[in-house]
């Protein structure tokens, strides 16, 4: 049975100058515990889909359902992580990660302990009282991850969370995230423009097309790659095969859409 479904989701952006059709007839169904990567050129509406799934914006047309219940507004059932960490510089790391419970008024001693143990799990046990300025990019993104996980969301939405990091940090964080998600059996949607990241981390890859945003192709990641940790998956022979296929798919889009821009 489907866990998260989008039914014929269409979305427009309005401005004084024009109407933009950001998404057109997006229908997907995601199973529980599945890891989905949304891959596509910039401006194809990847982030819009994520915002719609998170309930931050409601689609112009169509429905979003989590476990058969329609999503209308954000809730603690959905964890959303942005491209940059957006830790609040005026709050300590511990205050930052307890922000969700504070907003929902579920802040308790147990929550605090849970926060501390999660910090430990991502290797940040010593920085709880520090302020975000004192942390490196990778540490900050890990703290942001804890802030997202603490509410125990049923589904995690990642909007290019690794793209602002240096390559090595990014690979390490991929390992960590992938491990954590497997342990807690979380359903995840990852938006990325990095083909390698998509293949190494996900179970299925949705390739998107722009103007308007549609899902043009779905790739299944072979089981051998799924079972490996991201770092090892990148070295697997089947990785390169899939990489080339996805590359080709994206490459044809680029030429078509740039032609479209010319007309």
């Amino acid at each position: 049975m489907s866990f998260l479904t989008l039914e014929k989701v269409t979305h427009y952006y309005f401005s004084k100058q024009r109407v933009t059709k950001a998404l057109k007839d997006i229908s997907v169904s995601i199973h529980e515990g599945e890891f989905i990567a949304l891959l596509g050129p910039s401006g194809c509406g990847k982030s819009t889909i994520l915002s719609i799934m998170a309930g931050i914006i409601s689609p112009t047309e169509g429905k979003v359902k989590l476990q058969q219940k329609a999503i209308h507004a954000p809730s603690s059932e959905i964890g959303y992580m942005l491209q940059q960490d957006y830790l609040f510089p005026w709050k300590s790391i511990l205050e930052n990660i307890l922000l969700g419970p504070k907003i929902n008024q579920t802040l308790s001693k147990e929550m605090k302990e849970k926060g501390l143990s999660l910090l430990q799990e991502v290797g940040l046990e010593h920085v709880g009282s520090a302020y975000p300025d004192a942390l490196s990019g990778g540490m900050r993104q890990r703290a942001a991850l804890v802030r997202t996980l603490i509410n125990d969301p049923k589904i995690l939405l990642f909007d290019e969370p690794f793209s602002a990091l240096d390559y090595q940090t990014k690979l390490k964080l991929e390992e960590l995230v992938s491990g954590l998600l497997k342990t807690y059996h979380k359903t995840t949607v990852l938006v990325t423009h990095d083909i390698g990241e998509a293949i190494a981390m996900s179970d299925r890859i949705f390739v998107m097309d722009s103007n308007p945003g549609t899902i043009s192709k779905v790739f299944e990641v072979p089981i051998e790659l799924r079972n490996e940790q991201p770092l090892l998956a990148r070295r697997h022979p089947k990785y390169q095969l899939l990489f080339d296929k996805v590359w080709e798919e994206l490459d044809t889009k680029e030429t078509v859409s740039s032609l479209g821009g010319g007309i």
């Binding site: 998170a54 942005l82 609040f88 922000l99 907003i103 929902n104 509410n151």
Partner: protein, 266 residues
């Protein structure tokens, strides 16, 4: 071991050089002040400038001593200080409150926009006579002058700062299901703290302008009144004395706000 000793010596060397530089700056500052006072005194005694118009430091000192003794100066100072502090607080708080209301209601902000532009462009001291007629020729009017001069500019600056807060902070909070109030409390307000503090600094100067002009117009008591009175009876020692005192108080108030700033933004 030797290495650390060496490091320590270098560090001490650096500290002494910093201290020396600071000393040098202070010496220069004191020198400028003393020579200014000396030149003023000499110029006045030797009639390079008309002592009747420009007074002299010693005369000003005498006037201060005399006025302090009969108790009249203390009263004038108290009144002006009170009015300025009240005007400053009311203007700043009302301005921030207005900015908050505008942030909470986009529609209110759109509706009020042209009025705020006009009120901001308008020279507020020109409203003085009307305020005095409406509120009576007393300290209430003067406080109103001190407040009105800073309230609109505070509103505009703080509201602009509210709007410049990175919307992604709000997005993070909204993803947790935060209400607009919570977004304001956790993201917008703390993020704009530095801007609000810097408007405080600007408002210190503005409320002095408002209050002194108010005292010019009401002409009953206060340092502004002493300036106008000294001008009318051609006693420029009195005018100069008031100016010196105002400069002093304004500087102290500014420094106090700076202290608050350091305390709030650690």
């Amino acid at each position: 071991m030797k290495q650390t000793k060496d490091d320590d010596r270098l560090f001490q060397h650096y500290l002494t050089s910093v201290r020396k530089e600071k000393k040098r700056v202070i010496i220069w500052q004191v020198l400028i002040l003393i020579s200014f006072i000396l030149i003023w005194e000499v110029a006045s005694r030797l009639y390079w400038v008309d002592p009747l118009l420009f007074s002299s430091p010693t005369t000003i000192y005498q006037v201060i001593a005399e006025k302090l003794q009969d108790g009249s100066l203390l009263k004038h100072m108290q009144i002006t200080l009170l009015e300025t502090v009240a005007g400053f607080l009311i203007g700043t708080i009302a301005g921030i409150f207005l900015a908050v209301s505008l942030w909470f209601s986009k529609r209110l902000s759109n509706i009020l926009d042209p009025y705020l532009v006009i009120l901001n462009a308008m020279p507020k001291v020109a409203l003085g006579p009307i305020i005095i007629v409406a509120l009576g020729p007393g300290y209430v009017s003067i406080i109103a002058m001190g407040a009105i001069i800073s309230v609109i500019i505070t509103t505009l600056v703080v509201y602009a700062a509210f709007n410049e807060v990175d919307p992604n902070y709000a997005k993070v909070l909204k993803s947790f299901g935060a209400t607009k109030r919570q977004v304001f409390q956790h993201a917008v307000f703390p993020a704009t703290m530095p801007t609000m503090i810097s408007t405080l600094k600007v408002n210190v100067g503005l409320s002095w302008v408002g209050v002194i002009v108010g005292e010019f117009l009401v002409s009953k008591q206060g340092l502004g009144y002493l300036i106008i009175y000294g001008f009318q009876v051609f006693d420029f020692s009195l005018v100069m004395m008031s100016l010196v005192l105002i400069a002093l108080f304004a500087a102290v108030m500014y420094k106090l706000v700076e202290r608050i700033e350091n305390w709030l933004i650690k």
